[in-house]
Symmetry: C2
């Protein structure tokens, strides 16, 4: 069991004796899930911390139109929804589904609290993990809220420029980018066309060539 727990990054440096104590108190367990099965359901209360030991799972949510939207992947060693565990409103905004056969580590909330109180390193790591989510979400929200689509696209392209090359390869589809920017896909497509008409970029498939870097920087 100790070996399995240590596969999860955040537990890798904890003293075995602390983990053994939690195992003896039956606060840590392992469950397996078959490919395609639900690990956690949207709107269910999240009372124990889930972490992936083996396999891959993903979170998805049902949007207003009833369409399923894939949100995130969770790989070996990653925690699931760690930011929600201690929240007053601990209902999951997403479902978590096994993409392959999965082995999942499940720890009681009390186990996490005990580990925090007995290992300053773990406390700091867990605090950092949740706080990183706060800063990530805050930045994303400010990005989405306070910029025009043109300015968002310009900021995004500039952030992807590498080694002063004048072309950028973007992995996401225009639909993915529109979701990331929090805008409608047709609106984003229109802005891309506008930038092309203004001679600032040229776009073909997933390759964006920067023609006028100065003008692009001015849009940020």
């Amino acid at each position: 069991m100790i070996e399995k727990i240590k596969k999860v990054l955040i537990f890798s440096d904890i003293d075995n004796s602390l983990l053994l104590d939690q195992i003896n108190k039956q606060r840590i367990s392992v469950r397996t899930f078959e490919k395609g099965s639900f690990i956690l359901h949207q709107d269910a209360e999240y009372d124990s911390l889930y972490a992936v030991i083996n396999g891959i799972c993903y979170s998805d949510m049902i949007d207003v139109s009833g369409k399923n939207i894939k949100i995130d992947d969770f790989q070996n060693g990653e925690l699931i929804a760690s930011g929600i565990l201690f929240s007053c409103d601990n209902r999951l905004p997403v479902s978590v589904i096994a993409k392959s056969n999965c082995e999942i580590l499940i720890l009681d909330k009390k186990a996490i609290l005990d580990l925090c109180m007995h290992s300053e390193g773990f406390l700091l790591d867990y605090m950092r993990l949740i706080s990183d989510k706060v800063t990530f979400l805050t930045k994303k929200l400010l990005f989405i809220s306070f910029k025009s689509i043109k300015s968002k696209l310009a900021s995004f392209l500039v952030s992807k420029i590498k080694d002063d090359k004048d072309y950028i390869s973007i992995d996401q589809s225009i639909e993915d980018l529109a979701n990331y920017f929090g805008v409608a896909r047709p609106s984003l497509s229109r802005v891309i066309s506008d930038l092309e008409l203004e001679g600032i970029i040229f776009h073909e498939k997933n390759i964006y060539t920067i023609i006028d870097k100065t003008k692009l920087f001015k849009l940020i």
Copy 2:
């Protein structure tokens, strides 16, 4: 000093002996700021936890166009930027400015860690505080990302309906609402007009009268 610390809600239940220990280690201090002065600067590193003992302060940020946008108020007893303190990227996305003369409690990061390790109640409260920010931001982000403006407005109005009344009084201006929804003000105004033309709502100043509740619910 103990009395001042206890004014901050999250510290009110902690044993005096634990607080005295931190005071003796010189990890807790109090500073005063005059009305209008900067308490914290946008982009500065946030290494100690700030909390309001007396007075009111507010956070604001400079947007891409150089315009100042007011984000939040902090009142007596509230923590400032508690979600950022333990983040890897602990630079403040906002400035914090004294709205009145302010008395501010400042605690080293190490004081917070020590209090967490010696008081399970405090650990749980602090975890809950950061986690509540994660759930609040996640919900807001999902709300902004996955809904049309019409659907956002409908959800917002429905959430404000009280006691089955058919009118709603909204404190925020259309500009505030547009910021909250992460959309441009003219776009939101257009959607409000659309709903009026469709005979779903009637809007005058800050009062929104629901004319066709069934149609409004269908927009969510």
